[in-house]
Amino acid sequence: MAEAARDDLPQPAAAPHSLATGGPRRAAGRLAVTLGSLVLLVGLWQVAALIVASPLLPGPMAVLHAFLRASETGTLPRNVAITLGRVAASFAIAMAIGAAIGILLGRSPALDRVFGPWLIVLLNLPALVIIILCYVWFGLTEAAAVTAVSINKIPNVAVTLREGAAALSRDLDEMARVFRFGRGRTLRHVVLPQLAPFFAAAARSGLALTWKIVLVVELLGRSNGVGFELQTAFQLFDVATVLAYALAFTVVVQIIEIGIIQPWERHAGRWRR
């Protein structure tokens, strides 16, 4: 997936603005192009499956059947829900802790000089290593799984929010001090709105990263969830089921992106000209 490469780079400036551009007609045009592109992809997939003619590369219809089969028994919705729960928990923890660390380091150059290198180390530690260490130290438990995913995500959030906190407007800070806003009002009306684009960037790249790591965590040490089901299908060489789960979860994540993150971003950016 393309997101994997983007995960390391905070890119708050580009992301939020692109949403506001274009009217409904242009949006409809873009949607048509996207749909056409997806249809083309499915078509190529069908052709490749016909040429290879092997159960190791099932066509779209075979995957759809696998999807319906798994849905009827309830295993697919149940496992997707379990995985989503883990994604939500580790995402929330990582956003909260990562944002706190990032804002602290962004506000204090001294702290950043001391602890900034730790972030670099954590950022470059392979996800798999963190997962193994968490399972070894805390056992094959739910808490260890969620902790492992959170720790993987925290440095990304921290780095993005550090960028935002370092760029906070001094002018507005002085204004808030002269007019005696106090801590609470300054945080809510002056600081957090400036950080909103950085939260959005961290959330977007965070969601993509989190759910991929959750699958690995489930594969290695959980007995349910999409990751566990993928492992089972892998052992049976049931490629159709693997693809059915992968596609189902991709769709769910896209729905979260379009249904939650983008509307929130539009709401937070409603003041822009």
């Binding site: 002018d171 002085e174 009306h189 937070a268 003041w271 000209r273």
Partner: protein, 236 residues
């Protein structure tokens, strides 16, 4: 009854080449209550720094600044740029210094009515013209009913007609809510039209070059007497 007593023994500023520039040395200025003191000086002399020290934003100086009152005075500040919160509506921007309750919002709406922006109350600041944004900044300052109003070239980069309208507005607002005003500018016309006392600085380090009390009515300020005063102010 808020006066301002400034005595700055030394205020240094980091210079461009790593050195230090002395902005103020043994600088004294006494501002009487309810006077309108215009500080007239070219840019780069440290006028903004002086206002920031008085506002308590800059405490890195050797000296003292008193207000002749028991408690700290209510200070409002009209900055060189409006410094509105772009993500809050015009009404919220005016209300926030007062609080977040309904009373603050009502006061903000009344204040916006006074500066002629009632119909823009729910707009976001960036949709307003610069002149309108400056009006909002004035409304925010006066909504506090300040004892001391600091103004740092608050009408800069407006055309002359726009600046004149804002000067009229400022006079009207001050008539209703008298306050001690320290007004920084490099524009002699603005100084002559507004000040009850004009202090021309030069330097650095800044020192008082001229200190004139102005006791003229508005027509005289705008007429020949004002022109003469401008000439007098610019004389070396």
């Amino acid at each position: 009854m808020t006066a301002v007593d400034v005595l700055i023994r030394a205020k240094r500023f980091p210079g461009p080449a790593g050195g230090e520039r002395v902005l103020y040395r043994d600088f004294a200025l006494a501002v009487a209550p309810f006077s309108f003191v215009v500080l007239l000086a070219p840019s780069g002399l440290g006028k903004t720094t002086l206002l920031n020290m008085i506002a308590g934003l800059d405490r890195d100086y050797d000296g003292r600044i008193g207000f002749g009152t028991a408690g700290p005075p209510r200070i409002a500040y009209a900055f060189q740029s409006p410094r509105l919160l772009p993500w809050r509506t015009v009404e919220e921007n005016v209300a926030l210094p007062l609080g977040e309750d309904a009373a603050a919002r009502a006061a903000a709406r009344a204040m916006l009515e006074e500066v002629g922006l009632a119909d823009q109350a729910q707009a976001y600041p960036e949709r307003l013209s610069l002149g309108q944004q400056r009006r909002v900044a004035l409304a925010r300052a006066f909504a506090l009913a300040p004892d001391l109003l600091l103004m740092d070239e608050p009408f800069v980069s407006l055309d002359e007609a726009g600046a004149a309208r804002l000067r009229d507005l400022l006079r009207r607002l001050l008539a209703r809510r008298p306050a001690t005003v320290l007004f920084v500018t490099h524009d002699t016309r603005e100084a002559v039209e507004l000040g009850s006392r004009i202090v021309r600085l030069d330097g650095p380090p800044a020192r008082i070059r001229r200190d004139l009390a102005v006791d003229l009515d508005l027509a005289a300020r705008r007429g020949a007497a004002g022109e003469a005063l401008r000439g007098d102010l610019l004389a070396p």
